[in-house]
Amino acid sequence: MLENIRRKIHEVSRSIGRPVRLMEVCGTYTVAIFRHGIRSLLPESLSLLSGPGCPVCVTSAGDIEAVIDLAKNRGVVLTTFGDMMRVPGRNQSLGEARAEGADVRVVYSPLDALGIAAENSDRDIVFFATGFETTSPLTAATVYEAEQRGTENFYLYSVHKLVPPALRALMSSGEVKVDGFILPGHVSTIIGSRPYGFLADEYKKPAVITGFKARDILEGILMLLEQIVSGEARVQIQYTSVVREEGNPKALSMIRKVFEIADAQWRGLGIIPQSGLRFGTEFSKRDAVKRFGIEPPQIEEPPACSCGDVLKGIKLPTACSLFGKRCRPETPVGACMVSTEGSCAAYYKYMPQDK
């Protein structure tokens, strides 16, 4: 079965007759592609790039500083997903702030943070709401639930980001040279396939939403190549077991109830218009920004870090002069090294010959 797909990929690549560059936009794929050894199955003319698919990586250093300040200086219990603990702010990470005594607690679910709020009614509890569209409906539902249960001391600091506007920003910058997109499966479970329509309609780029198995990814690649060969550009769904065209309507309406779309700061990429979620009016009393007057500081990217170019698919991690030297997973300099799903971290882990 796999061999069959692999052979077809080689055939179609030959008939395309020029190099093809595909961008994958999901940290889980970045890791899965290495783990399955997918690159070794592909013809040399085909390259796979990792786009801005890791929400941990693109959380801005200023936002990390803002939540460290809440936990250190404002008497807040800061609750967060575990992935965020090692992400560096200006001088330290949430993990380091906790070691110095700040009240930072790792939770598996935003509902657990709400539980902490119920048990500590004399404290203010803030949940650091990170993540793409897979995660934002859950934090929205938790805000809704807080209201239902009357848990008054629960707040959210939303730095949620949206995938399609980031892809639009990449395309409109004109710097990004890709022939097609492998789109994120679980983000698309929520938003469906329609929000990506502009990739095909305006930019004439084929796009396929795939699953995570080797067969899914290879099938997705083949679908993209077949579109390229026939001169088509459409958004297709390979991951049909959980992705529908219209997404998950209930999750989408929960997002709309609580949040509204706003500009957002992406680590490595800067401010992208209309690419994030902040509180709308109905639940704004749960907004940590309002409650605590948060103004995240502007923090410059480390000058030698090429993460922005890596996220745009312009450079490979190995082309960065700091890669594997000053910048390693234990001591990340830039965004792409901060999470196991970042492109630089995945390269570092799976390409020992390049260290």
């Binding site: 890791v31 929400p55 935003p110 995660t135 539902a141 929520i190 959980v242 196991t340 799903e341």
Partner: protein, 77 residues
Amino acid sequence: MCLAIPSRIIKKDDLMATVDVMGARLEVSLMIMPEEVREGDFVLVHAGFAIQKVDRQSAHEVLQLLAPLLEQEEEGS
């Protein structure tokens, strides 16, 4: 971080369910499930919420793939 894990519903109680996620029991919310689910159904679970139904066959295939992936993700995405 966007990983959602196929889990089997063991018990359902209005908008909450007990699921089996790779051998562990977990309470998850059904608040944003777009369709009705029953005990025995598989759902994708992300950070304490069921986000979509998934058929048994692909649930099993994905679980096989995830086992090694999750081991190395101790940070828990």
